[in-house]
């Protein structure tokens, strides 16, 4: 119980720190998802809303995490614990939306874009000489998966007749299965599935995400885009390798019949470490460097109307599937693109099918 509470509180604390840091690592010309001209990034409204957002997120985030722990303490039901993380996210969006609305109102009232030349900048070399996908970074994940398979094949004859296939939140085995190829190699299948899925996501982002180049400083902005794409792909491939490593550790416990109270940590710790490293690396590089460049005097076009709720990009006229996130790290989908809608339907359908099969079995 203590381990579960510590783990959940740790995840909530990490999220809280990230949410408090996000305004500092997001583009200053898009405070809380509102596009503003460069001369307005230090507007009193923006500064005040950033301060208010931080206080609200800090106070309400702690309260939400505490409520989650108390509910778990009273009911003892582990599945209620992720609720505290969900509550932190809910509280965050409320604070974000309030700040977004205040800045949008100030922007409209003050006519922040009046008299400015709005433009779009494109770096054609991103198409004619695209950055290379870091395929070499896939090697650790592949090596771990192949190693797991080879060890499993060698150890199969000496595996116990009953295999532990699931642990409770307290580390006690709560599901056993008779030895079979399906049961013994279940985590290898997970490795293969997760590797294929995340490599697919990394490749989709890398090859089909639209660059969002600042027309005011296009050269440094394009250079940053190249670097960030490469870093993002490496971060995802690193995460895949660590997930596979967690599966290898868990498989070894299963195959040797070892029962330890901290068995869930064997899976959770590598993933948590990878997520923290990926978040830190992306957060540190989330802004274009302050390189010396002659400014063009052009402002980014005001495209707020395509960002519903300040967070969801819905632009049916834009053919891009993936676009850089306005607030936060990484990328988001263009929900106005019919292909994204089809993809979401397919994902929901697949999840439904898996749940049905799982509970049906």
């Amino acid at each position: 119980m203590t381990t579960t509470i510590a783990l959940s509180s740790g995840v909530s604390a990490l999220m809280l720190v990230l949410l408090l840091v996000l305004p500092s690592v997001s583009s200053p010309t898009v405070p809380f998802g509102v596009r503003v001209p460069a001369r307005r990034v230090d507007d009193p409204t923006v500064v005040r809303q950033t301060r208010i957002y931080r206080w609200r997120v800090f106070a309400l985030g702690i309260v939400s995490a505490a409520v989650g722990v108390v509910i778990y303490g009273l009911t003892g039901k582990p599945f209620l614990l992720p609720l505290s993380v969900l509550m932190v996210v809910g509280v965050w969006y409320g604070c974000y939306f309030l700040a977004n609305r205040k800045i949008r109102v100030a922007k409209a009232a003050g006519g922040w874009y009046e008299g400015l030349h709005q433009g779009i900048a494109v770096d054609t070399e991103l198409r004619t000489d695209p950055p290379r996908f870091p395929w070499l970074w896939l090697a650790p994940a592949l090596i771990v998966t192949v190693a797991t398979t080879v060890i499993g094949v060698i150890a199969y004859p000496s595996m116990p007749e009953m295999l532990v296939v699931h642990h409770g939140a307290n580390g006690v085995p709560n599901r056993l299965a008779a030895k079979s190829v399906n049961a013994a190699f279940s985590l290898v299948f997970v490795q293969i599935g997760v590797t294929a899925l995340l490599v697919g996501i990394a490749a989709a982002i890398f090859f089909s995400s639209r660059s969002d180049i600042d027309p005011g400083r296009p050269v440094s902005s394009a250079r940053w885009h190249r670097r960030y794409m490469s870093l993002g792909a490496k971060a995802l491939l690193g995460l895949v390798a660590m997930i596979d490593l967690g599966m290898l550790g868990s498989s070894l416990l299963m195959w040797t019949g070892t029962v330890i109270s901290w068995a869930p940590l064997v899976v959770v710790l590598p993933i948590l470490v990878a997520v923290v490293v990926a978040v830190v690396v992306l957060a540190r590089n989330n802004l274009a460097g302050d390189e010396a460049e002659e400014v063009t005097g052009m402002a980014h076009r005001d495209d707020d109307m395509y960002w519903r709720g300040g967070l969801f990009y819905v632009n049916p006229e834009d053919h891009a599937l993936v676009v850089p996130r306005r607030f936060g790290l990484g990328w988001t989908l263009n929900f106005g693109n019919p292909r994204v809608a089809m993809l979401l339907v397919a994902v929901v359908g697949l999840a439904g099918l898996l749940i049905t099969l799982r509970f049906g079995g």
Binding site: I213, M298, R301
Partner: protein, 130 residues
């Protein structure tokens, strides 16, 4: 190469794209054989209709500045100014210079501007040439 489009300009977007590509050729950023993005890809990057990019590329093709091919896409070509081009270009230059005179700009200032603009072209080429 960075392509900047000013949405507030009275110049149509296709014309701006065409102008920026011509300037890049003059600057030496684009040389003979330099590829340009496919029309759909460039349109997606700008978030505009691909017919707009098509129109810009078609203008460049008509002027012999690029070659359009199904396999290789749009590629910059080498070109030599012919007589009809010289006549048409002189007429446009005349209008532009007439604007300067009508606005009262001094002749030596206009000449200096022309010279400095001409000198600014091809700087990338001369730097790359040993």
């Amino acid at each position: 190469m960075i392509l900047n489009v000013d949405l507030a300009s009275e110049v149509p977007i296709y014309q701006q794209i065409r102008d920026r590509i011509v300037e890049a050729i003059a600057d030496g950023v684009l040389t003979e054989g330099s590829p340009l993005p496919a029309t759909r890809a460039l349109a997606a990057d700008f978030g505009i209709n691909f017919h707009t990019v098509n129109k810009a590329y078609d203008l460049l093709r008509q002027q012999g500045l690029i070659r359009l091919n199904r396999k290789t896409g749009a590629v910059v070509t080498s070109t030599v100014a012919d007589s009809p081009f010289c006549t048409e270009w002189t007429a446009r230059a005349r209008t532009l210079l007439a604007e300067a005179v009508a606005k009262g700009l001094p002749a030596d200032g206009v000449l200096k501007t022309c010279e400095s603009v001409l000198n600014s072209f091809g700087t990338d080429l001369s730097e790359d040439t040993p």
